[in-house]
Symmetry: C2
Subunit: 228 residues, 2 copies
């Protein structure tokens, strides 16, 4: 396999600390099969390359992960997740992991949403950045219009919406739209979506946080679609 | 209202920074009505009392929050959340918030689960520590036995379980049991639960993280029970 044949998001080069060699045999063998160059590092150099306090000792150089919106949205998409102005990289990564688990065919990072290449986002996504196609689109309206054009109903998660999650038809092609963790979705964005939907609150909490709200909504759709 | 009449978790005393006075009028009035002593602090003293980088300028002294297991489990409980050996306080707090939103009647922190009074847990719970009764029980077997004795079916969330979330009857009194974020539930604990259940993974992710998994499971039960 040549470098040119790699898909976006694929591996260019691996750096491995001495201490990580033993536990990484399978990974390194796979990299060799793919003709990925592997370089040995001292433990100290590997730590300096990593952002975390207890790094695992492997650093990979990859392609940038995001792709054009037209590429990630195909005609047979049943579930897409759109994040609008999400600012916390850990939240974005966690939602990308949820979208992957729920079988979403794409995640669109719209508006001012954080860069998916942020280290915290990469770690929170736990590998899912390499599973789900990701697009970055500044123009939120264009992102929602593209979802609609693909035949997806757009559902905007909103704490004060009239429609409640357990009273709408969930088993149909859907793009879930989630807003900023502190401010939610702007009124203009709510206007653009087909339906604004709230998660029922049966107790006294005012709301759920972004990642758990996304998990509840996206999984409600995924389970309904797979049951139908 | 006298101090003695306060419920566990209620307020003993408030310290307020000068800069927080203006935005806290309603809160301070309510505290005065409850005869809670209020002391003014300099901004610098308030910052020193707080754990966060940008504290809000209000510090409250409260009762310890946990109550005896017998007290939190009543005969008409329909939904209870049990955390076993959960070590991250942010995760514990987020799940307590989810449990509150889903209308759970109690959260049981079992085994080596983190102290709910940890500042990160308090912040992640976003007020829900004061809404849902919390019990701390070292003995995990005793916690599950108490749930069963109250008439709750115990469901253990487990990534490799045979039963899948969308194929079990959800609209019945349930205690959801979640394990440590890295290691899940120990085999002995899985044995004790009535059914081990996995969240269906429709994509390529290996799993969900603890908080999002708990949100999916607990809300699946809550929405089914309210629909029934």
């Amino acid at each position: 396999m040549t470098r040119e044949q790699h898909e976006p998001g694929s591996l260019h080069e691996l750096f491995v600390a001495e201490r990580a060699l033993e536990n990484s045999a399978a990974l390194l063998q796979r990299a060799q099969e793919l003709d990925v160059p592997i370089s040995l590092l001292t433990d100290r150099a590997a730590d300096a390359l990593s952002e975390t306090v207890t790094p695992q000792g492997i650093v990979a150089v990859c392609e940038l992960l995001d792709r054009p919106l037209e590429t990630v949205l195909s005609g047979d998409a049943n579930l897409v997740v759109v994040l609008v102005d999400v600012s916390d990289p850990g939240n974005a990564g966690t939602v990308i992991r949820v979208a992957d688990a729920a079988g979403a065919s794409a995640v669109i990072l719209a508006g001012e949403t954080v860069d998916p290449h942020n280290g915290k986002c990469v770690r929170a996504a736990a590998g899912s950045l390499f599973h789900v196609p990701i697009a970055r689109v500044r123009d939120v309206g264009a992102a929602l219009a593209a979802c609609s054009a693909t035949g997806l109903r757009t559902l905007a998660a909103h704490g004060y919406a009239e429609e409640q999650l357990d009273s709408i038809e969930l088993a149909m092609p859907t793009a879930w739209v989630f807003g900023n963790e502190a401010h939610g979705l702007r009124p203009e964005v709510l206007e653009l979506a087909d339906i604004a939907v709230r998660i029922p609150i049966y107790g006294e909490a005012e709301s759920l946080n972004l990642a758990t709200a996304a998990a509840v909504c996206v999984y409600a759709s995924a389970m309904a679609a797979h049951k139908a």
